[in-house]
Amino acid sequence: MFGSGFRLIAGRETTERLRSRAIWIGTVITALVVAAAIVIPHLVSGGPATPVKVGLVGVGAQKAAAQITALARASGQGLSATPEPSLAAARSDLRRGTITVALEVTPKGAIATIDSGGGRVLRAFSSSSLPASVQATLEEALFLSHATGVLTSAGLPPAIIRQALAPRPFTVTSIGRSSSRATSTGGAVAAVASAILLYVFLAIYGQAVVSGVAQEKTSRVAEILLGAVDPVDLLTGKVAGIGVVGALQLFLVVGVGLGASALTGTGMLPPTIWAALPSVLLWFILGYALYGFAYAAAGAMVTRQEDIQFAATPISIVMVLSYVLVYLMASNPTAPWAPVVALLPPFAPVLQPARVALGLSTPPEFIAAIVFTLAAAWGIARLAARMYAPALTSGGARLTWRFFLRGGRE
């Protein structure tokens, strides 16, 4: 499909760009910004760095410890519980830091004791209160333990008690289209974060294509290349070579983000980011295929370096519009326009990952958007290929978008 010309052109683009110090400085700075965005809020809030260890004292401490550990495991919390021989021993462990909360269980209830200074500083939660989720788990465990004890005393067989206290499944069935899926604040944050990432990368690498093509044209390198390479190879090689660098940089930045998140605990990232990130990478490739060829055509129309911004403006406006649409969609996920607009190729690359993050995209919608975007990218690439050589070799007057739309005919 692609000739040796394509491979050489793409290889040169990738190699030369990776040789440039600027790309590495840019990558390091972007990765640092992403890592800082994850790590700094964590450091400021003192989020959970270590699992919460509960030391239990009192009536049924052994049972309650097992109950708490099981409940915490079921709900995915970093919480474990061990029985303590006495309150004094529990306080001592609390000061040494081997446990993070001492729970004294009495027939009337429970008293939680946490370090309030003097011992090791607890990083798991503030020194004056337990996190709500931890407290809820402890309360639930104590309730179950208490209820089991009461019901056992009443002479009920263990099987009946287990059955009585087993959680009942709770299913939500919605009659609306979107409300069946969770559209939490975390989803909105992930949607906007995906949109920012995609917008920034598509814009940066789109600009790299425009200026790369414009430089090839204004420095007349294109005249030499066109003698040896088919214009289609020149165009696709250029777009692909720059795209490889973009994808590598995006993978690196996303990798650093996920690494930072893993190191500091996943609590700082909304859970939907795990579904959104693979789609961000996929949609960068699809979006870049679409916008990259359009930007290449824009670059070929430029006759002076100063005209680059002007030539790229119509494409940039569409991209900014996609970005704005993500904000509108995040604030009103059930808007009837959203599923329709998100299928349209110019907007799909930024809107689709956002819809995944919001839990709004369905597989048929996602696949349809991919098919439409690929078809549009193919059409734009064909159009760009037709006008690429005449535009690259034209001198003098600035070419217009009319020239582009007519496929290289004035």
Binding site: V221, I224, L226, G227, A228, D230
Partner: protein, 308 residues
């Protein structure tokens, strides 16, 4: 006609209302060093760009190897455009390797050839310098290396000598001669007519988009009236007056340049000069390319000569 002759046939190119090329035709034979001369805007660059496929002709064709030239043919042509074309930020050696590979060389062969050309054009030590860091003259040498690095069968060089110092001109001239001797066909344009005359086997003169003369210097001057330089130091200034078919074109001291009409007898001129005393000089004048060029470009259109 030999198959490897580059044959430019009836090229027509219009830019809006401007007719840039008006049925331009000429042949360049294999192994020939062909000089393409003309005033600014005469159509040299447009012709070269059409040969290279950079511009499309409105009519006419370029044939090479017995067929209309296409991309495969053009991959065997080394091209040096008038407005230089190399990646400014890319280093010299990788850039030459890249160009050589684009034209079909393998990686090792491309590397070795690039090193060889860097040495040959006096660019050793600058292998890893970006093109933009080279001096103007060295950029020009790099550009020539880029055109010749893959050992093309045909080289089209648009103003390769422009802006070069005399030493660089000599280097480049020598390189072109050597490559021509090895069988490379070379077409180059230049405003330095002495250089073209000194270097080329044949020349083509273009004026306002039309070829006005094509041929060797001898061929171009063959249709001109014969001219003689005669120095008769003792002769009176008017000694040549009245000689049948003879016109005095210019005088330099005691030397006269005489134009002989067809059938005029040069021996009668010699006898008349000897009759005045000693004759210090008596030789045919071989017109320079500058003179041929001036007379070609100043001739009215209808009297254009086209020697092929």
């Amino acid at each position: 006609m030999h198959d490897d002759t580059l044959s430019v046939r009836d090229l027509v190119k219009r830019f809006g209302s401007l007719v840039a090329l008006d049925h331009v035709s000429f042949d360049v034979r294999p192994g020939e060093l062909f000089g393409f001369v003309g005033a600014n805007g005469a159509g040299k660059t447009t012709t070269m760009r059409i040969i290279m496929g950079v511009n499309a002709a409105d009519a006419g064709e370029v044939r090479w190897g017995g067929a209309t030239i296409g991309r495969d043919g053009r991959r065997r042509i080394g091209y040096m455009p008038e407005e230089r074309g190399l990646y400014p930020k890319m280093a010299l050696l990788p850039q030459l390797v890249f160009l050589a590979r684009l034209h079909g060389m393998g990686p090792q062969e491309a590397y070795e050839s690039s090193k060889r050309w860097i040495g040959r054009l006096g660019l050793s030590g600058r292998e890893h310098s970006p093109i933009e860091a080279l001096s103007h003259g060295n950029q020009q040498r790099a550009q020539l290396a880029g055109a010749l690095v893959f050992s093309p069968e045909l080289a089209i060089l648009d103003e390769p000598f422009a802006g070069l110092d005399p030493i660089a001109v000599d280097t480049m001239k020598e390189v072109l001669r050597e490559e021509s001797r090895r069988g490379m066909t070379i077409i180059f344009s230049s405003h330095q007519l002495e250089l073209v005359e000194d270097t080329c086997d044949r020349v083509g003169i273009i004026r306002s988009g039309r070829m006005v003369a094509v041929g060797s210097l001898e061929e171009l001057s063959a249709h001109r009236l014969e001219e003689l330089w005669v120095d008769a130091p003792a002769a009176p200034p008017s000694w040549a007056d009245g000689l049948e078919g003879v016109k005095v074109l210019e005088s330099e001291g005691t030397r006269l340049l005489l134009e002989l009409a067809p059938g005029a007898d040069d021996q009668a001129i010699l006898l008349r000069a000897l009759a005045t005393g000693p004759v210090a000089d008596f030789h045919r004048h071989r017109p320079t390319l500058s003179e041929l060029f001036r007379s070609a470009v100043s001739a009215p259109n209808e009297e254009e000569s086209d020697v092929r």
